[in-house]
Amino acid sequence: MRLLEDKQRKEEEQNRQEQIKQKALKWLGFDLKQSTTCTGLDITLENPLIIFKDRPHLPSELQFDLGIIHITSHTEMRTGRWLNLPDQLAYETTMEIDCKQMGIRILEESGQLFHMTSPYDLNIKFDKLNYTPLLSQSFLSPQIDPRELDIGYKILMKYTPVKMFFKQSAYRYMLRCMDLNLNYSDGLHNSQYMFYVWTKEDADNLYKEEDVVNKFKGQEVYKMKVQQNFPSMSVTTLHEDGSFMAELVLCNC
């Protein structure tokens, strides 16, 4: 009986795969009318520093060193976008953000630097399908089925091993920075700060998004795929004199 059931299941699966292939064949050689070019970026930012302070007039500061950032972009034909046609090509633009030697440190009142992280690198790859007029309505475009063509963004973030160090004074300093930047208000601004004017177009887009969610509910349709790759991460706590206290290691083995 079991053998019969297994055989039936296999046949059903084969039939399903055949049906999928038959459906996919209509997209074989389909012209997406994509743009074949992109804007070539070559941007270099050398060690931008974002600084947080507990009080602006005091010398100590929390420094976020973004390292040497290099942003490039290029476009090429790739496979993998047509879900049931593995060899079918489509134009993709990749923007690559490469950050080298990033780090977080605290400049103490004495003028000494306390490095909260060892230098680490971050590489971000952002892939998107090139522009095509056939996808002007995104997921609701009548001519393209997003269940056949993956039109979402793909983001891949790769870190080198990150080592973090904490001591009590550093933690206290971070809390003081949060106090100025999150809790404090100088009381001069009575109304709220304006960031964005909510328009009818935004509301329409919101309703459209609801339609998309309802239409593709429970199916594998993605707007964005984010993948993060951490080889390992450790948090070390130190005494005030810099001696070792404890270490937590997260390893992607």
Partner: protein, 169 residues
């Protein structure tokens, strides 16, 4: 350009209130909030190169690119203070730029508020106009009704106080 610096004179977090403090008596501390400095001699702070190709047959054009942008920025240093940045953003993008780019910056906003396309904010709470949901249908129906009425009813001629008589001037 060897350096580009922006200073804060508002004495944040003890911000000087321009409405209550005499500007002659007040002392303005000078605090750098954004700085781009050149650490390498002989090199500029910022390099910008933008190439746009007029035709596809341009011999300089690289395959796969419609334009090329090259930017190099050295040694940027930004002091982030939350409320201060909110204030700058609010002032620059919503109070300074609209009057420069539009002769009547509030016209567009007021029109949309009247139509109910954006919420009215009262005491920090957004109030949506309930009529807005059917506003398009209502307006179109009202317009149709008005047109139909105008066909049947002849408007009475009343002297307008706003319009000057045509024989003057």
């Amino acid at each position: 350009m060897q350096s580009f610096l922006i200073f804060d004179h508002t004495n944040y977090p003890k911000t000087l209130n321009p409405a209550s403090i005499s500007h002659q008596e007040a002392t303005y501390p000078s605090r750098e909030i954004l700085g781009v400095r050149n650490k390498l001699k002989g090199k500029p702070v910022m390099e910008l190169e933008c190439i746009m190709y007029w035709e596809d047959t341009c011999p300089l054009k690289k395959e796969g690119f419609d334009k090329n942008i090259k930017v190099v920025l050295r040694s940027l240093r930004l002091l982030h203070m939350q409320e201060y940045m909110f204030r700058l953003n609010d002032y620059f993008f919503y109070q300074l730029m609209p009057p420069l780019s539009d002769s009547n910056p509030f016209k567009w906003l007021n029109e949309r508020l009247d139509k109910g396309e954006i919420p009215k904010i009262v005491d920090g709470v957004a109030h949506f106009d309930e009529k807005h949901e059917h506003s398009e249908n209502v307006t179109s129906r009202e317009e149709e009704e008005k047109k139909e009425n105008a066909k049947h009813i002849q408007p009475q001629s009343e002297p307008s106080l706003l319009k000057p008589p045509s024989n003057i001037g």
